[in-house]
Subunit: 328 residues, 2 copies
């Protein structure tokens, strides 16, 4: 078991002492006013700001048997930063609300904070955690809200794709899903319950795809690169290429025709949680940063997404319908 | 039991249909861009914005036996709006992340949204819910993040009180705590578990103080009134007058001397969740809006808070140390 799962608990140490131990580990950024008052104050030189929020819940969204507290901190930060990038904005701040059971070791919350800092340092240096809230709950729950600055550009919506635009992606496809499949295969005990010991013994813990599942690496800077290059539409790939491409297609009133790329296998099409950026660019634009061509925007047909003239199903994960209730 | 606790569940209906039924009930406000893309966009004409976040968890923060879903929605919105007001800002938007057990009736989430709308309409009309996230969890959890516009003024911090300033409050003191005490006395069954039937039968359900506990009425507009009148320090009264006054005193490096007011009984001093505004004003300033004098800012002494020359204890509620683990 992770070393973080030992030592005094948050119930023993109390809210103020826990806060003190966490806040110093978080990235400070450069807010106008940081934590400590009723509100933080964040600069919005553009005269507007983008905002997104995402909650991660123990059970449906992560298992302690498979993810360390630092992994959960990394992922909570990275997925929100990715939504900011998908508007073409630069992340300017985060606030984090966290509720933990009273018997949670304080070291777990410290490791969580370390993971947040590692993600921000790696993906969007300079973006600070400007505020937060610490609560207690029977279920470990993290809620992150992220802000971004558009730098004078218009937000890149999912609704702006035009017929003739090039469809492109930045970031890897399918690795997070392959990692999750590996965990469900090689990280469960004989009752099919997630098991840390089995995950380590099987080698799954050291699988780079598993690491991508636990610590996605969204190409944050490519959001601004895409906006500056004139991207007509963009979104974050959270639920899988097919379902998210379907959203872009419906919002824009177009269909999307995929190139016959070997890369686009079933896992790349339907696996979620890669947090790459899917965007459309006018023809003749040189694709910026890490973007590579996936296909073309075509006139709206019967299907959102087609390949070789055949429709590609655009379905995915529904947390209400699909969660089996297990935690682990 | 509340009518909301019947009908199809979120697990049966699925995330998209639930979202569709909730979003239409929420206040829209006037964002630059509302829900539906990776991020919302909110205007920040001042070039900066204030932000606060607060999580409410079933068990430590509310009980279904005592609060309706609409009560929880009201309180989640009101407490965050109050933090924005305490900076001297006008609320400009909210984002809400909500996680509910899969067997929660959709009508519960609809009633929750109605409560949010009722609070915004009553307390801060024009402030919309610009975005959110819907998840599933074993524990019903709401996380609200609120934004505000300073309108060109500096934020009113808790650290700016000067010796000689007048200490003043806007809002009622002690009513929320009296309501909570009534619930713990007249809203529990023979095992001291919260009971909706007992709460109704005893008359506690119709007690106006109980209603204040469930639906606090923070004087949002008085935040801007205080800032415009030159308030030197201000904070939201969430944990009780004594503990919150202590925070203001320590942050400002002063002590606070209370007038011998009959209003300041033990419940008024130590009861939490009133969400009034505590502020200090330069002498000779006419107190604005609903503010009334409570005392004076004096030179820093041994105690944060004194009355009749005696120290007033500045202790309060710690969710990690004090929650008994019960839900109800």
């Amino acid at each position: 078991m992770d070393d973080a799962w030992a030592g005094p608990t948050v119930g023993q140490v109390g809210e103020l002492a826990v806060l003190d131990r966490i806040v110093r580990r978080l990235p400070a950024g450069a807010p106008v006013l940081g934590p400590g008052d009723d509100c933080a104050v964040v600069a919005a030189p553009d005269g507007r700001f983008v905002v997104t929020t995402d909650m991660m819940v123990h059970g449906p969204d992560f298992r302690w048997a498979w993810s360390s507290p630092a992994d959960v901190g990394w992922k909570a930060a990275a997925t929100n930063l990715s939504d900011v990038a998908a508007m073409g904005a630069t992340p300017s701040g985060l606030v984090i609300a966290l509720a933990a059971p009273q018997d949670t070791p304080v070291a777990v919350l410290e490791s969580f904070a370390d993971g947040v800092r590692q993600a921000v340092d790696a993906l969007s240096p300079g973006c600070g955690v400007v505020g937060g809230d610490l609560s207690t709950s029977a279920t470990f729950t993290v809620s992150v809200t992220a802000f971004g600055d558009l730098g004078g550009r218009g937000p890149v919506l999912r609704s702006g794709a035009h017929v003739g635009d090039v469809l492109a992606v930045s970031g890897e496809l399918g690795r997070a899903a392959r990692g999750l499949a590996r965990l469900f295969r090689d990280g469960v005990d004989e009752h099919r319950e997630p098991s840390r010991a089995v995950t380590v013994a099987s080698g799954a813990d050291a699988d780079p795809d598993v690491d991508r599942q636990r610590r996605p690496v969204p190409p944050i800077a490519d959001g601004v690169h895409a906006a500056a290059a004139g991207a007509t539409a963009m979104l974050d790939l959270s639920d899988g290429l097919a379902i998210d491409a379907g959203r872009l297609a419906r919002a824009s009133g177009v269909s999307l025709a995929l190139d016959p790329l070997p890369e686009l296998d079933a896992v790349a099409l339907h696996g979620g949680e890669d947090h790459g950026l899917l965007a459309t660019f006018p023809p003749h634009v040189a694709l910026p940063g890490g973007f590579r061509r996936l296909g073309l925007v075509v006139a709206r047909g019967d299907a959102d997404l087609v390949r070789d003239g055949e429709p590609v199903p655009t379905t995915g994960w529904d947390p209400y319908a699909d969660w089996d209730g297990a935690a682990g």
